[in-house]
Symmetry: none
Subunit: 230 residues, 2 copies
Amino acid sequence: MIIILVEPQLGENIGAVARVMKNFALSDLRIIKPRDGWPNKKANIMAVGAVDIIEAAKIYDDLPAALEDVEKLYAMSARVRALNKKFINLHNFYKECENPAKTAIMFGRENNGLSNEEISYAQKVITINTSNFSSLNLAQAVGIFCHGYYEKLYQTDKIVKNNDANATYAELNNFLQHLEAELDKKQFFRVEEQKPSMLNNMRSIFNKANLSSQEVRTLRGMNESLTKTD
Amino acid sequence: MIIILVEPQLGENIGAVARVMKNFALSDLRIIKPRDGWPNKKANIMAVGAVDIIEAAKIYDDLPAALEDVEKLYAMSARVRALNKKFINLHNFYKECENPAKTAIMFGRENNGLSNEEISYAQKVITINTSNFSSLNLAQAVGIFCHGYYEKLYQTDKIVKNNDANATYAELNNFLQHLEAELDKKQFFRVEEQKPSMLNNMRSIFNKANLSSQEVRTLRGMNESLTKTD
């Protein structure tokens, strides 16, 4: 996936774009006439660990030069305007994108976006749904785009390993029986007929917590401590 | 949906957070101890047209104070650590979020995120999948979160009503403080240095259980009963 910035004004934004691209495994950054020239110190500072993206960025004098090897160009625009263009949302873009390495998304200037001429190079316009206050920062727009794309690529959940073993039902039931016995001793269950439903509630509370073995031991320890009489 | 920033360092980031929140129709911003004090001129400048969000932001001295009316708290974290917490991705968060007005997402410091104690207040941890270069800028993380939430709002219409009211953090903390006091009386915390991490574990156990107000009352009743001496 290729990210094209058309005449970006602030080096900070270029740096932030590079950083968020790298967060989501993108690296092909192309810039048309950055306002403050190139290289740009502020871009490097804001890129933090993504200076490699900044250093590899390609700089062009005009849009067509940046498109030589591009198969499909999409324009990102907040405003839906009276252009004879198809507007699609992010979701549909991800669905239809077939050859990411040859697909480019262009983002306009911070103050006034893309010109109609620039948009005329695009096959479609992508919009990000916003509230009526629709003034997304340039790097935010790129970030939302890149994140969505990355999610599409890796739709599966990361597998999160937890070192602490889950409590078995035996451990939990053991604890609950112990708790019940203690509560019995203290006449907690005043109305005998209500005891089963109260036990259900107790069981439910501790089952919902998805406890580890260690946590069940902690709870046991707490109960033993609470019922201690010295 | 409530956005909580825990000790944010840069006013610029706070402003960028406000701006992107407004783009996606969120407005409840809470800040725990902003490093450079409050109000912060840089935050106002970066917020652009979202100064209203900055001006309405609530400032707190500690996390529990910000949670009084919150029913569910999620922590946003890039790192998956060995905590006994459930990690979910954004998609699953949007699916399970039932009462956005009482749901808060907390984001940590720019340089070192959230502490284990802070995370112990959360029911689950949300992660944003990234490449190995996982250093998302604070405002980018908030932006990605808010955008996804906004998209979800306008895609689904299911509101799941639960008859039994969720416990607020005030109710749960009340119970936990009571429990801590009782355990103190019984010398449960034998090694003073271990007390904070034991308290984190306790808090974590009961936060994971996603308790209703009624369930918290049941737990209180059980504790009172267990500590009774006749």
